[in-house]
């Protein structure tokens, strides 16, 4: 589904990603872990198409199509979804109107008719339940005055509504209390199926107790330096990131 090959990117001339390789297949859940500043969030930004990043080398194929050639909105319509680490507050744009606009633009791109008002409301209600999202929040301005947990649940609500093929969750667990983490994780687990895939970007192993990944990758200094299964996450939790830094430094010096 997603093939990242030798991806290099920089922001304001500073090299951030230095040759990322990653294959994600349908039905899989990948976790990308790493210390702060290793490039985790930059990877999600580059994949979603944030303008401030320049890709200098490499390619990304999404279902065989050149992802980097697409505008951010086209990537979304093709089925890529980024759950933001810090969702933006937009006063004056109602959550429900935003959801309807997004859903219908995606449907139009896929040659589907606009969703009837009744059907849309039914779908919204159903998905709200999934993330235990209070009905009154749906009619409020987008993320305005939401708590951290409400914002993250709103991201998963959008994910549930838009039914992407590939979802990237950028530190969705950071700052969440245990209840919110459980709700968000349940939502994701409900949405997992054989046809979609998830990339979980996280700093903490705790999330992976709730959403069990098929693969765990460690990102350090703009490169994936280690890959494994969920046991790798446990090891990271136990030993921290310092040994990765040490090991990687050693290799660099030796090489």
């Amino acid at each position: 589904m997603l093939s990242i090959r030798n991806l290099h990117a920089e922001v304001e001339g500073k090299k951030i990603l230095k040759g990322i390789n990653l294959e994600v297949k349908a039905g899989e859940v990948h976790a990308i872990m790493g210390p702060n500043g290793s490039g985790k969030s930059s990877l999600s930004s580059v994949l979603a198409g944030r303008e401030s990043y320049d890709v200098t080398e490499g390619e990304v194929l999404f279902d065989g199509k050149d992802l980097l050639d697409m505008a951010p909105e086209v990537r979304a319509r093709e089925g890529l979804f980024l759950a933001f680490q810090y969702p933006v507050e937009i006063p004056g744009v109602s959550n429900i109107n935003f959801l309807r606009t997004a859903l219908n633009e995606i449907r139009e791109y896929r040659g589907m008719p606009q969703m009837e008002a009744k059907e849309f409301l039914k779908l919204t209600k159903e998905k709200q339940k999934l993330v235990e999202f209070e009905a009154k929040l749906v009619n409020r301005s987008l993320n305005e005055g939401f708590s951290g947990g409400e914002k993250k649940r709103n991201e998963i609500l959008q994910l549930a509504m838009l039914e992407p093929k590939l979802s990237i969750l950028d530190e969705t667990d950071s700052g969440l209390d245990i209840d919110a983490l459980r709700i968000v994780s349940n939502g994701v687990n409900e949405l997992r199926n054989a046809n979609n895939a998830f990339v979980l970007i996280t700093h903490y192993q705790r999330l992976l107790e709730y959403i069990v990944p098929d693969f765990v990758h460690v990102l350090y200094d703009g490169r994936i330096v280690k890959s494994g299964t969920k046991e790798l996450a446990l090891e990271l939790e136990e030993r921290g990131y310092d040994w990765i830094k040490e090991e990687f430094k050693t290799e660099e010096t030796a090489g």
Binding site: V88, I90, G92
Partner: protein, 448 residues
């Protein structure tokens, strides 16, 4: 006499006044004629404002007065036989009493005739015998200080007199469609007087449209509004006139005790020049005033909103929110002054002006002013200029929303602080649609 070498029209007006009065004023009562004479002398002193006049510093009006204009009512009325297109002022779903004026002149054939009891509406020139006319006409506005109101008072022709009887609350809004049209350059000066008597309630929606394919229209409007004890007036102004149209629109309001006056001014792109003066005089205690404004300025247009809220007595509240969206090479001016007299204790006055620049070549001049002589008041003002948030744009696009749709959503959201206060759903929807229409598909956004 003012020094007006640069405006030939000034001399034409000076030389033409006596003849004009002999022809047009023959039927008028003595007090109106005296008012005209006095205002004429004042205009003679004032002339047209130059940029040296502080209130006109950012709005050079003289370049808009250079063409030879016809200003006799006969010429103006003859010109009005050109196309009359009501479609431009159509608002889907609006239930209202429709009153149509062409070049300021009331058109009974185009207007609704089933007017509600308790409301008097007639052409201003036929209202001179009304007691409310005698009491208030020319007395709300002070023409000695203001160039265009002085000129209007000397030369006005046509316009409306509207009076609502005490305790009459009108069930539907009055929709005043004002069409300006002509096959030559015209200078039109309509004059209105609105009186809401004790405990009366009325909503007026003024819609200003133009139909002038090849000529220029200069409209100098003066409206006096009297909101008496415990009365409520909702006053909407919707300016959607097109190229060649220039307007100075002066509204002078007097509020009595316990009254509420709400003004909503929406200036959409199209006209060459729009200058709105909105003066609200709080002439007794316990009044409440709301001033909401939204201006979109595109092309090379100039839209200027000058407001003045005068707190003269204790315990009054005023609230003002004006928002501007500047496109292309458009220029916006906002000048909001709040004046609080020494006796006006317990005043609550709030003012806010926010501007959104959507182009690198647009300009905004924003000047909030507080002048406070009382010591026990709550007053605040603020002015901002910004661009669309790139972060918000990216967030919307990352959900599949197209660039233009995202921009429209954000501009509508920016306008929301103003549009959410519109009390008439059909009008709110209409204005939201107008805003969206004017957000271009492709435009280079200002880089942060």
């Amino acid at each position: 006499m003012a020094n007006q070498v640069s405006v030939p029209l000034y001399l034409d007006l000076l030389n033409g006044f006596e003849g004009w009065l002999a022809m047009e004023g023959s039927e008028e009562n003595e007090s109106v004629l005296q008012l005209r004479q006095k205002a004429f002398e004042q205009f003679k002193q004032l002339g047209f404002p130059s940029r040296k006049v502080e209130d006109w510093k950012y709005t050079p009006v003289q370049p808009f007065l250079q063409e030879p204009f016809e200003f006799s009512p006969v010429a103006v009325q003859n010109a009005a036989h050109a196309a009359i297109n009501l479609e431009k002022a159509y608002i889907d779903g609006l239930e209202a009493y429709k009153i149509v004026l062409v070049n300021g002149k009331f058109q009974s054939a185009l207007s609704d005739n089933n007017l509600p009891a308790g409301v008097t509406i007639k052409p201003i020139l036929e209202a001179q015998e009304e007691p409310a006319f005698a009491q208030y006409f020319g007395k709300v506005v002070n023409t000695s200080k203001y160039h265009f109101p002085a000129l209007n008072t000397a030369f006005f022709s046509d316009g409306l007199f509207i009076e609502v009887a005490a305790n009459t609350v009108v069930d539907k809004p009055f929709y005043l469609v004002q069409i300006y049209t002509g096959n030559k350059n015209l200078f039109v000066q309509p004059r209105n007087l609105v009186v809401a008597n004790r405990s009366a309630g009325i909503t007026i929606i003024e819609s200003i449209v133009s139909e002038n394919p090849e000529s220029n229209l200069f409209v100098n409007t003066l409206t006096e509004v009297v909101v008496k004890e415990n009365a409520q007036v909702n006053h909407y102004l919707l300016q959607t006139a097109g190229k060649g149209f220039r307007q100075v629109n002066h509204t002078e309001v007097s509020q009595k005790r316990d009254s509420v006056y709400s003004n909503y001014t929406f200036s959409l792109p199209g006209a060459d020049l729009l200058r709105n003066n909105l003066h609200v005089n709080l002439d007794d205690e316990h009044t409440e005033s709301h001033l909401y404004g939204l201006y979109l300025v595109a092309d090379r247009q100039l839209t200027d909103n000058h407001s003045f809220v005068s707190h003269l007595h204790p315990n009054c509240q005023s609230n003002e929110v004006y928002k501007g969206v500047l496109l292309d090479k458009g220029t916006g001016v906002f000048n909001g002054k709040i004046f609080v007299e020494r006796d006006a204790q317990k005043t609550n006055a709030f003012q806010q002006n926010n501007n959104l620049l959507l182009s690198n070549t647009a300009t905004i001049n924003s000047k909030p002013q507080l002048e406070i002589y009382a010591d026990d008041v709550k007053c605040s003002h603020g002015s901002t200029v910004g661009q669309l948030s790139q972060e918000a744009m990216f967030y919307l696009k990352s959900r599949g929303i197209a660039e233009q749709t995202a921009r429209r959503l954000l501009v509508s959201a920016f306008a929301f602080d103003v549009t959410q206060n519109i009390q008439i759903p059909a009008l709110e929807e209409h204005i939201n649609n107008l805003i969206i229409q004017h957000i271009p598909a492709e435009q280079e956004l200002v880089k942060a």
